[in-house]
């Protein structure tokens, strides 16, 4: 779950280039053209991702709890079947 929550937080891309100044120029242009607009969408996406991750975890926990209950009930049924067979044996002998 910690990994899912970690992956839910997406991060900004930092431009890099082997050529001097190219990466910095692209970052500057990005600051003018896109950063503040995209940041708003970014934050919305992170909020959604965290919510979805939490919902998945909650549902997973519910499924596991149900699974454990079903197994406990299945064992109880098996135990009752054994007792019935044992009673039948006793009655026959």
């Amino acid at each position: 779950m910690s990994l899912l929550k970690e992956k839910a937080i997406i991060s900004d891309y930092e431009f890099k280039s082997g050529q001097p100044l190219i990466g910095r120029v692209r970052t500057m242009w990005n600051n003018v053209a896109a950063r503040w607009y995209v940041r708003w969408q970014f934050d919305q996406q992170i909020d959604f991702n965290l919510l979805a991750a939490q919902q998945i975890a909650d549902q997973y926990e519910q499924l596991v709890a149900q699974d454990r209950e079903i197994m406990a009930l299945t064992r109880t049924v098996a135990e009752l079947e054994r007792q019935m067979k044992q009673l039948k044996h006793s009655a026959e002998n």
Binding site: M1, S2, L3, L4, A57, Y60, E61, L63, V64, D67, R68, M71, A72, T74, R75, A78, E79, E81, R82, K85, Q86, H89
Partner: protein, 367 residues
């Protein structure tokens, strides 16, 4: 007499548990009525007991007092596990750690069930091989079981930690005694590994150490007896000096029990390493002892219980210690041979194991 529904891999399935059941059933059947249930009964020839399709158990289960499910890590346990989930019964747990098996099943569901949910999700996402042995993933099997039969104190203790209320019987693994055969007076000292070649058996490590041993004892040999489809030994073989490589023999899976026994007979010392261990009791090691062959094992898990008179224990993955153990085994062969046979005949008699099985099953049924 108890009527038992018996679920186990059976020959010709290539797993030690199939052979185990085949050899043990005649002893169990002396005092119990056995019906075998199998997903492909038409493939089991010469079954000495009634055999039915595994799906027939559900509608006919009232005819049987108890179902017995053999659980281990191979794919041959898939249908058995499905039936255990529907109709819980007594489990013979051959491996304490079932993570490898569960990784083949509905892995996410099994992880969620067995460990806590956030951790289960992390393991699923990371897919880290090391986790396969860190987490037992036997919780569902033990939660369902009406009782458990194990073959080692180690396994019994591990179960008692997680399921203290669960009835557990410690039954020595049944091993057929082997008639003593004449060992040729003059023959090259022969080491060997038995059973399916897997990474955990560390046969590559054993071969590397054998390379060093062989440099001092050029007459010595090494035989690998078992299917190597899962793990390729070619790279390690190519890393050995040509003279050593010429004395390493890969035999593949022994198709018949007689062939397997003959291949054990050809060995002097069996190297039976497991790292990591899944809490298994090694039938291969015990069979080797029945043939009067000392075994070299890693000093952990169930192997710690083997007496020093029959087994040389070395710290896991310690190559110098393994080399010294090979020399120690070679130096003390006659004494080890006698002690090994006596140990199996005293502690692993199938008749005694059958009695312990049936006493436990009767107690469970009557409780």
């Amino acid at each position: 007499m108890l009527k038992l529904a018996y679920f186990s891999p059976l020959p010709p399935e290539r797993t030690g548990i199939a052979r185990y059941s085949w050899e043990f059933l005649p002893f169990l059947a002396k005092s119990a009525e056995i019906t075998l249930f199998h997903p492909a009964p038409q493939t089991i020839t010469d079954a000495p007991y009634p055999i039915q399709h595994i799906d027939d158990y559900s509608p006919n289960r009232w005819e049987y007092d108890l179902p017995i499910y053999h659980m281990g890590n191979s794919r041959f346990h898939r249908d058995i596990y499905e039936m255990l989930k529907q109709h819980p019964g007594v489990v013979v747990l051959h491996d304490v750690v079932l993570h490898h098996f569960m990784a083949m099943e509905q892995y996410g569901r099994e992880l969620g069930y067995a460990v806590d949910v956030p951790l289960g999700m992390d393991i699923r996402i990371r897919q880290d091989e090391r986790d396969l042995n860190r987490f037992d993933l036997n919780r569902r099997v033990l939660d369902l079981a009406l009782g458990v039969i194990v073959h080692s104190q180690y396994a019994a203790d591990r179960i008692a930690q997680s399921h203290p209320e669960l009835p557990v019987a410690l039954v020595p693994m049944p091993i057929l005694a082997v008639a003593q055969r004449e060992t040729p007076a003059e023959h090259p000292l022969t080491f060997g590994c038995l059973g399916e070649v897997t990474p955990a058996k560390q046969i590559d490590l054993a071969l590397r150490v054998f390379g060093r041993f062989h440099a001092q004892h050029p007459e010595s040999r090494f035989h690998v007896v078992g299917d190597s489809a899962e793990f390729d030994l070619t790279p390690v073989l190519h890393s050995l000096p040509p003279a050593t490589r010429a004395n390493v023999y890969l035999h593949g899976y022994a198709a018949t029990q007689a062939a397997f026994e003959a291949q054990i007979d050809a060995l002097d010392v069996v190297i039976n390493l497991r790292y990591p261990t899944v809490g298994e009791t090694s039938a291969a090691a015990l069979r080797a002892l029945a043939h009067g062959k000392p075994v070299i094992v890693f000093d952990h898990g169930t192997y710690q219980a083997l007496p020093d008179s029959v087994a040389i224990k070395v710290p896991p993955m310690d190559q110098p210690a393994l080399l010294a153990a090979m020399q120690q085994a070679a130096d003390g062969l006659p004494a080890y041979r006698n002690a090994a046979r006596t140990f199996i005949e005293t502690h692993h008699r199938p008749q005694k194991s059958a009695e312990l099985y049936l006493t436990f099953l009767q107690q469970l049924f009557d409780s």
